[in-house]
């Protein structure tokens, strides 16, 4: 018995070793220039260790197709061909947006050259500097060129995505274009530029061009820590796309770099953290199920009545990439429930239930309105999967016999009616009783008692 259990455990362990570590599939297409394909082997090896299947394709190759007949062949697509101007017919900005809609995740590398992909970036609220304008900084003083910048993640960056990188405490070497960020709330800035850095025209750009476009865009110059160098974007379908300012970030050269003080580069871990977020490994939540019923009942009703006390439960899981399983997650402290008919009539906190992992529950009174209501969870937090759920229930007025029957305020009326009846019966009894007596002595006056 014991050994059987052990065998089972080993089998499960083996199975979990070979299963996908992403919640949305493990096939990855890497679009990369054939001559640069070997420059990123450390990154590829990291992905393979995680359990991903990599397929390589040159930017001009016709096969394998990313999507055919609205069916996407890969769960994730990495586009490292950052300087390519002409892609095969099926890699266009439009087709990339299409596969994002079909829940495929993307990592897209940018460069200082103008390409179809750099023209797509503004659609994701990223404002790129004009061509030939990489990020440079002269701080800290170092032997490397000014455009090769060590960046240490700060609290401003996406600490929940980069937790492993931050724990290592190593600098991330970056050399590429920065992105100014629009106001789109779906943007997830992963790594910001250092405060002393700025975009400069050292790579064939002209000073006039950068000043012109800074005026035109109204963004000011591309400078300072509000710039992002690696930016995520989570779509309405919860697919994720990460824009990286430079493909060099993933290269073996920078991954193995050791600076003058002997500190190793954090690029390899950073690349894996970014891939983990983009490929739906980290910060992935889902609503397993929602329940609603009246207080003291367990089954949902087809109809609820005005002023019913309602219980709403949601069960939420987080994806655990280590084991490749969904585990109940009680860590959301600001979840809200809305009970909506056109407008939210009730908006209330949906707190986690102590002692039941993953369960969130709230009890509230249905409003004194009838109509078609919805229980709505709409939880959007930067970096996390958007949680959305909507359950429609009708709320009806009480039936004719659903109102309270006898009210204390009406006791005088009840007493009046009852006393009238009692008096009627007494009156009749005495009248009839008296009739006999009176007929006996009708000649005289009838003696009657009341």
């Amino acid at each position: 018995m014991f050994s059987l259990r052990r065998i089972l455990l080993v089998a499960v362990g083996l199975a979990s070793l070979i299963t996908a570590k992403s919640s949305s599939g493990d096939s990855v297409l890497v679009v990369v220039e054939p001559k640069r394909q070997d420059d990123f082997s450390i990154f590829y090896q990291g992905l393979k260790d995680q359990g991903y299947d990599l397929t390589f394709r040159g930017p001009k190759d016709e096969k394998p197709l990313i999507a055919e007949y609205d069916e996407v062949a890969f769960a994730h697509v990495v586009i490292f061909a950052s300087e390519t101007k002409n892609f095969a017919a099926d890699i266009t900005p439009q087709s990339l947006v299409e596969i994002l809609k079909l829940k495929t995740n993307l990592i897209i590398a940018l460069s200082t050259k103008q390409t179809p992909l750099s023209l797509l970036a503004p659609e994701f609220s990223l404002i790129l500097p004009p061509p030939g304008t990489p990020l440079i900084t002269y701080f800290p003083k170092r032997a490397e060129p000014a455009s090769l910048i060590p960046i240490t993640p700060t609290q401003q960056d996406a600490t929940n995505i980069l937790s492993k990188t931050i724990k290592d405490g190593r600098p991330i070497w970056f050399s590429g274009v920065p992105q100014a960020l629009g106001t789109n709330p779906q943007l997830v800035p992963i790594l910001h530029a250092p405060p002393e850095s700025f975009g400069a025209e050292i790579d064939g750009g002209s000073p006039d061009a950068i000043v012109d476009s800074a005026d035109k865009g109204g963004e000011g110059l591309w400078a300072g820590s509000q710039l992002s160098v690696v930016t995520g974007f989570q779509t309405a379908e919860n697919s994720r796309v990460t824009w990286v300012g430079s493909v060099e970030l993933f290269s073996d050269e920078l991954a193995q770099k050791v600076d003058a003080n002997g500190v190793k580069s954090g690029n390899a871990q950073f690349a894996l953290d970014v891939a983990a977020w983009t490929f739906q490994e980290s910060l992935v939540l889902r609503i397993d199920k929602v329940e609603h019923h009246r207080v003291n009942e367990t089954e949902p009703r087809e109809l609820y009545t005005n002023n019913d006390e309602l219980v709403f439960n949601a069960y939420i899981s987080q994806f655990n990439a280590k084991q490749g399983v969904w585990v109940p997650y009680s860590g959301i402290n600001d979840l809200q429930l809305e009970f909506t008919m056109l407008d939210p009539h009730i908006r209330t906190a949906l707190p986690p239930v102590r002692g039941v992992p993953g369960k969130y529950s709230v009890t509230f009174r249905a409003p004194d309105r009838h109509g078609v209501f919805k229980f709505i969870i709409d939880h959007k937090r930067r970096g996390w999967t958007h949680l959305q759920s909507s359950v429609t229930v009708p709320v009806v007025p009480p039936r004719h016999d659903g109102y309270p029957r006898f009210l204390s305020a009406a006791w005088p009326y009840y007493a009046g009616a009852i006393s009238t009846s009692v008096a009627f019966f007494l009156f009749s009894a005495i009248w009839l009783g008296g009739e006999v007596k009176e007929s006996a002595k009708r000649p005289g006056k009838a003696a009657k008692a009341e």
């Binding site: 009326y413 007493a415 009616a417 009238t420 008096a423 009838a446």
Partner: protein, 121 residues
């Protein structure tokens, strides 16, 4: 019913009411006095309910209507009974014997109470 005293001219007014009361007391048969006391009770009950409705709450309005109309209806039925059994009205109700009048009264009251209790809750 107690005679009321008029503040303006109390002597003659008290006198008149006294005379009226005495005449009623002497000339009305006990049977009619019995009906009259029933009528007074119904009237007081109806007044109490109406005052409660005005001052406190008419909230379960059906209950007010039921309670109040039961007193009013019972009053009307009892008043009819009184006029039919009054020996002075014999010429008016030649074909209605006192027994028949009471049967009508009883039947009417039972129907009235049936409706009242249906409407009450």
């Amino acid at each position: 019913m107690a005679p009321k005293s008029s503040p303006a001219n109390s002597a003659t007014a008290v006198n008149a009411f006294h005379t009226l009361w005495k005449a009623y007391h002497d000339n009305t048969s006990d049977r009619l006095k019995f009906i009259d006391s029933f009528l007074v009770f119904l009237m007081l009950s109806g007044i109490v309910q109406f005052v409660y409705c005005v001052l406190v709450s008419n909230f379960p309005y059906n209950a007010f209507l039921a309670g109040f109309s039961s007193t009013v209806g019972q009053f009307v039925l009892a008043a009819s009974l009184r006029s039919q059994v009054n020996p002075d009205n014999k010429n008016e109700f030649k074909e209605v014997s006192p027994e028949r009048a009471f049967a009508d009264f009883a039947l009417g009251s039972i129907v009235l109470h049936f409706f009242v209790y249906n409407f009450l809750g």
